[in-house]
């Protein structure tokens, strides 16, 4: 029985060619979404990191709780909370003022916020890792020379931490390319969602899924390659230093 089904299944990629523009559109949305999300995540993550390093205990405790909460709950749950729960108590993310049928929806703007906030917690961890990796002796040397704590950060700690942080942010972007696929569940036209469209249009399941898998693989491989190049360059810089 199984074998018969197996044998009668015809895999036909030729019927995919006319959907190429649809797939490419999805690729555009996924890249834009990931890029915007990680950018927001980085800015917010930096802010969270500053709060976490605050000497005021309640402030740093709040930042720690934020990170714990965001990292300890599924992204999908966070997305649904932003989209369906918070509006019930009056918190609604307005759509972006663009006329695009994809980018101008409430779903898209809300996904950007939900994913951006999610990303910020991971970025905060990346920043902490980078800053913690710098030997305490560096700060002691800088401060013993009379540098202020700000100058120490700006000229001694951060320039060294950057070499650890940048590759981490690259990783975060690569992760986000994959994880952003959950926005398809709320109808955002990303790579994942295109497989639904193509399935509905062709009654084919196998082919579109293979294609979007390849698309994700290509995206992440290219980005991983670029990431390696960056890492190598930073390492070379560090060595020559």
């Amino acid at each position: 029985m199984f074998i018969q089904v197996w044998a009668s299944m015809v895999i036909d990629f030729s019927r995919m060619t006319r959907w190429i523009p649809t797939f490419l559109e999805g690729v555009g949305v996924t890249i834009v979404l990931s890029l915007v999300t990680v950018t927001i995540g980085s800015i917010l993550g930096l802010f969270i990191t500053l709060l976490r390093r605050s000497h005021l205990l309640p402030v740093s405790a709040l930042a720690k709780f934020y990170i714990l909460f965001i990292r300890g709950t599924p992204l999908l749950v966070q997305l649904y909370v932003w989209l369906y729960a918070l509006p019930l108590i009056g918190i609604v993310i307005p759509p972006l003022p663009v006329s695009s049928p994809v980018f101008g929806t409430r779903e898209f703007s809300t996904a950007v916020i939900a994913l951006g906030i999610n990303s910020s917690a991971y970025v905060a961890e990346i920043l902490r890792g980078g800053l913690d990796a710098i030997d305490k002796g560096q700060t002691e040397a800088a401060r013993s020379l009379g540098l202020s704590s700000r100058q120490n950060m700006q000229y001694v700690v951060i320039p060294q931490a950057i070499r650890i942080i940048l590759p981490g942010l690259g990783n975060e972007f690569i992760q986000m390319i994959k994880e952003s696929s959950i926005v398809s569940t709320v109808g955002i036209f990303d790579v994942m969602y295109t497989s639904n469209i193509v399935k509905a249009g062709t009654y084919l399941v196998f082919e579109p899924l293979v294609i979007i898998s390849l698309i994700y693989l290509i995206l992440t491989s290219v980005l991983t390659f670029l990431q390696r190049q960056l890492e190598r360059k930073l390492n070379v810089d560090l060595k020559s230093n």
């Binding site: 030997d135 002796g137 560096q138 002691e140 040397a141 800088a142 401060r143 013993s144 020379l145 009379g146 540098l147 202020s148 704590s149 100058q151 000229y155 001694v156 320039p159 060294q160 560090l238 060595k239 020559s240 230093n241």
Partner: protein, 245 residues
């Protein structure tokens, strides 16, 4: 005239009391060697002098200014630290900066020195520590002895009134110890006030004007080297010396 004064300083890490009511005075031009067993609190005492550690009780004065990273305004603390050079066991050079930049960074940022002036001064200092050919090298291209000499030049660039050395040769291969000790001796002989934590007894005896023996957080001896080495008072110091000499 005393440059540094330590009055009744105590310091604990958790349950461990590392410094117990320490009193000490460093006068201008003195070369004070602090010796004692491992864990006796030498580094902690030294680090209290520029407030890298803050005493639990007691006071540290630089001239008439109380030095305290917890209570002092940051700008005032930084002004004091500019005048107190420190050299660490593990050099702590800035690996992302060239030798020249390591030396010019603090004069430019903290003293507002013009880049050109800072560089000229750095080159003179590198000459003095025998490393004029390493101006544009990066720290990871230097041997341990060279790193430590750069670290000394970096501290000197701030024009300190007193230099603190915390076991400056302990992390060095034996063949590199001498080049660093020679630089320190040169500074001490030039009249720069020096506080040196060291395990190099021969060197301490040679250059120090005073030896302080620390044991379990207490100063047990404080005497000129001839007196300390030839007429050791405390039993603990005798035992210590018999082990290290």
């Amino acid at each position: 005239m005393s440059i540094l004064r330590v009055i009744n300083v105590s310091k604990s890490f958790g349950k461990l009391q590392v410094l117990k009511e320490i009193n000490m005075e460093i006068k201008a031009g003195e070369v004070v060697a602090i010796i004692g067993p491992s864990g006796s609190g030498k580094s902690t005492l030294l680090r209290c002098l520029n407030s890298l550690e803050v005493p639990d009780s007691g006071t540290v004065y630089f001239h008439d200014t109380e030095v305290n990273a917890k209570t002092q305004k940051e700008a005032d603390l930084n002004t004091v630290r500019e005048k107190i050079g420190m050299v660490f066991q593990h050099f702590n050079l800035f690996p992302h900066l060239s030798v020249l930049e390591n030396i010019t960074l603090a004069p430019r940022l903290a003293l507002g020195m013009a880049p050109k002036e800072a560089e000229e001064q750095a080159i003179k200092l590198l000459n003095r520590v025998g490393l004029s050919d390493k101006v544009n090298s990066y720290p990871n291209k230097l041997s341990g002895g060279q790193k430590q000499r750069v670290a000394i030049a970096r501290a000197l660039a701030m024009g300190p009134e007193v230099m603190l050395f915390d076991e400056p040769t302990s992390a060095l291969d034996p063949e590199m110890i001498k080049e660093v000790l020679m630089v320190i001796a040169d500074l001490a002989h030039s009249g720069l006030t020096t506080v040196l934590v060291t395990h190099e007894m021969g060197f301490a005896r040679e250059i120090a004007s005073r030896i302080i023996f620390l044991d379990e957080g207490r100063i047990l001896e404080d005497a000129p080297p001839q007196e300390f080495f030839n007429n050791t008072q405390s039993e603990r110091a005798k035992i210590f010396l018999s082990k290290v000499m």
